[in-house]
């Protein structure tokens, strides 16, 4: 071999390494970016908290004025101002919108703040509204020693260093505290996603399995069947945003007859159900075909009908493959965004309902990233959740099919 040829050879080989190297580097870059931006946000309040901030007015209707002294824990940082009288610590911070907020960084287990109840008249009056760490304090109202009601806090343009000692020194009894739960959680979208998964599978799995059975057992080898197969393959190639439009033009008029209106989870589910059909049908048919035909023939030879053979012998044997198909469908639902934006809406809900609009986890990211101030941190945090779920599902599918292969070979 000449030198030139050898050099060319090595050059081409190294090109292949470079190409794969680039793809690996991109994957790492994506994961690093997402995790570094979102990991610090992942705690209970974000995972299971509301997205929208809630203003809370809490207070006491009776005396709650134990003369206690509270000692702060060592974990507090500089900048935390402690109220030794009432057992909490507050820090002045800047939030996403560049505003000052006074955040509760510590609330003692025996602090009277935990015993607050809603004082505003109305249906919720009297329900417990404790103030916990993570919430923002806007103002306190207390009665001083002369019985006067004094207001202190951020709304009075006071820094924590100013109003806390004031309150500690002069308050005889706290009557009210106003604050805000900052929100920024994903619970609403999490629930909406779960509901979406349930409903989508409810509609798509039966039709998908039955259609797969049709292709496997009933359709003859003719032009019509080829046409059916091609149609289903074409469906797989339709971009998801077009499914969105299908939802609005084809499905919405139908569910309108049943009383639905506007964007809703149910509309999104039905749209997803159609989107999932090709995946489910393809996987299920493969699973059915992997069942040895001898099983079905034995069943028929024993006098069972085709339907009985399917339900008693073939489907049970194919259940691993069908299960994998469902997992892949769930994975697709979690990651889907374009098909839901038109149909399920872009309003992030804390308590999603089937009949009204909501956002899934993926759509919430889309909403958060839009506009002037994209929220990278929360988007990344949600992305982490989505990635973990999707990758776990895909991994499970691989494991299940590897196990089935082993069984089949044995």
């Amino acid at each position: 071999m000449t030198r030139i040829r050898k050099i060319k050879d090595i050059f081409m080989q190294s090109l292949t390494w470079v190409a794969s190297g680039i793809s690996a580097w991109v994957l790492v870059a994506i994961l690093v970016f997402i995790f570094s931006n979102g990991w610090k946000l992942l705690d209970r309040s974000v995972l299971f908290g509301d997205y929208h901030a809630k203003n809370i007015v809490s207070g006491f209707s009776d005396e709650h004025n134990a003369d206690l002294t509270f000692t702060p824990p060592d974990t507090l940082e500089d900048g935390d101002v402690v109220s030794t009288r009432f057992g909490f610590a507050v820090r002045d911070e800047i939030d996403k919108e560049k505003n000052h907020v006074h955040t509760l960084t510590w609330v003692d287990d025996h602090s009277p703040l935990l015993n607050g109840k809603i004082t505003t008249a109305g249906p919720t009056q009297g329900t417990p509204a404790p103030f916990k760490a993570g919430m923002n304090i806007n103002k306190f109202v207390y009665l001083d020693n002369s019985g006067e009601a004094i207001t202190v806090g951020r709304l009075k343009q006071q820094s924590p260093q100013e109003w806390i000692p004031l309150m500690d020194g002069n308050a005889k009894q706290i009557t009210e505290f106003h604050g805000k739960e900052p929100g920024g959680g994903m619970r609403g979208s999490l629930m909406a996603t779960l509901i979406l998964i349930g409903l989508s599978l409810l509609f798509s799995v039966p039709i998908g399995i039955f259609a797969a059975i049709y292709l496997y057992a009933i359709a003859k080898q003719n032009r019509l069947t080829t046409f059916v197969r091609s149609s289903i393959e074409l469906l797989a190639g339709v971009p998801s945003i077009i499914f969105s439009m299908m939802g609005i033009t084809l499905i919405f008029p139908i569910i309108k007859l049943f009383g639905a209106s506007g964007q809703s989870i149910i509309l999104g589910s039905l749209t997803m159900a159609v989107l999932l059909l090709p995946v489910l049908i393809r996987q299920t048919e493969e699973a059915l075909r992997s069942v040895p035909s001898s099983y079905a023939q034995a069943s028929l030879a024993l006098g069972a009908t085709q339907t009985e053979t399917l339900f008693r012998v073939v489907l049970p044997s194919a259940r691993n493959g069908i299960f994998s198909a469902c997992l892949l469908a769930v994975s697709r639902i979690i990651g889907e965004s374009a098909a839901l934006v038109f149909t399920m809406g872009t309003a992030i809900q804390d308590s999603p309902k089937i009949g009204s609009s909501a956002t899934s986890l993926a759509v919430q990211i889309y909403v958060l990233m839009g506009g002037e101030n994209p929220n990278f941190e929360l988007s990344s945090a949600i992305s982490i959740v989505i990635l973990i779920l999707v990758l776990a599902l895909n991994l499970t599918v691989k494991v299940v099919s590897a196990l089935s292969d082993k069984k089949g070979k044995a």
């Binding site: 793809s23 971009p239 374009a338 988007s379």
Partner: protein, 321 residues
């Protein structure tokens, strides 16, 4: 004696009843299976019909109300606030970013496929395949977050090196890079399966003629797999045309175009459909369906083109397998 005869007849009757019921159930379910098959098959056609019928609406109606179809198809400005809907440049933009992104991903995909199937051994090969599969599994919103946070920054910095200012990095180039990344897994997967399907005899023949394994890979195996590779390219391109959420996060939504400068902001068919969805009504809302019709048309046209090109090559005796 009589009793026994009656018993037999009674049980016969019972069995006949059961048999009838079983047959009835069988027929029922077989029809249900057929119906499911029909529904699944009809969906594509229904989608086309319904979306098209909604998409036509803005162009019907009285001369003052309706949108000008000719300008829609060929125009080069899109100002929803002024009622100007020229989609022409958007179509060109979509083609530019998608085809460029696809052409960027294709050589990388082929090279990776050669590494995975022909050079890397067992465990390494599985590892590399896992990387590709993981990239394929990442949802488009997550790609969007990454694109908005990293790719745009990269483009912006690159532009600064040349002294060009960008709109925060949102640009044609950013979209091209994003689409290249997103189409790469599809192309690689199909190239891998295409190469794996090539019979070993071709390998033996090439090596026996004094070619190195690397020469065999690139001169014999990859050309032999060109059908699968072409399919992968087409599939990837189709996905690039239809990619919505990630693209709309970094496109920038140019008001006029087409954007030939990679550092300029751009607008694609999908970004047009998605942007500003919150505060939209009337024609601005309806026109998105029309854009959807154009998107479907572009994808179908591309598929037909590739199909025709494949046919022609086959006729010349070029493509086999």
């Amino acid at each position: 004696m009589e009793n026994a005869k009656e018993n037999v007849m009674a049980s016969e009757a019972k069995f006949a009843k059961i048999r009838k019921r079983r047959r009835g159930t069988d027929v029922l379910f077989r029809n249900l299976f057929r119906i499911a098959g029909v529904i699944a098959a009809m969906m594509v056609i229904l989608i086309i019909i319904f979306v098209t019928s909604r998409g036509i609406r803005p162009f019907l109606g009285s001369a003052e109300e309706r949108v000008n179809l000719k300008y829609f198809l060929t125009g080069s400005r899109w100002r929803a606030d002024q009622g100007i809907y020229g989609l022409g440049f958007v179509i060109i933009n979509t083609l530019i970013v998608s085809v460029t992104g696809g052409l960027l991903a294709l050589p990388l995909a082929i090279l990776s496929a050669v590494l995975i199937t022909r050079i890397a051994k067992g465990k390494l090969s599985i590892f590399l395949t896992t990387i590709v599969e993981t990239l394929a599994a990442i949802p488009s919103v997550v790609y969007g977050v990454f694109a908005a946070g990293k790719i745009t920054v990269l483009v912006r910095d690159l532009a600064n090196v040349f002294g060009i200012s960008t709109y925060g990095g949102n640009s044609s180039l950013a979209v091209i890079l994003l689409l290249a990344i997103m189409t790469y897994p599809t192309m690689t997967t199909l190239a891998v399966s295409g190469i794996r399907a090539i019979p070993k005899e071709l390998d033996s023949a090439s090596l026996a003629l004094g070619a190195t394994p690397t020469q065999t890979s690139f001169k014999v195996i990859v050309p032999a797999a060109r059908s699968s590779i072409a399919t992968g390219f087409t599939l990837g391109l189709g996905r690039a045309f239809g990619e919505a959420t990630a693209v709309s996060m970094i496109a920038g939504n140019a008001l006029a175009g087409p954007s030939w400068n990679p550092f300029d902001i751009t607008r694609t068919l999908t970004s047009t459909m998605l942007t500003g969805l919150h505060e939209t009504s009337g024609v601005d809302y309806e026109i998105r369906f029309s854009v959807g019709v154009i998107l479907m048309f572009v994808i179908v046209s591309m598929n037909l083109l590739v199909h025709a090109a494949k046919r022609r090559l086959e006729k010349k005796g070029g493509l086999s397998a």
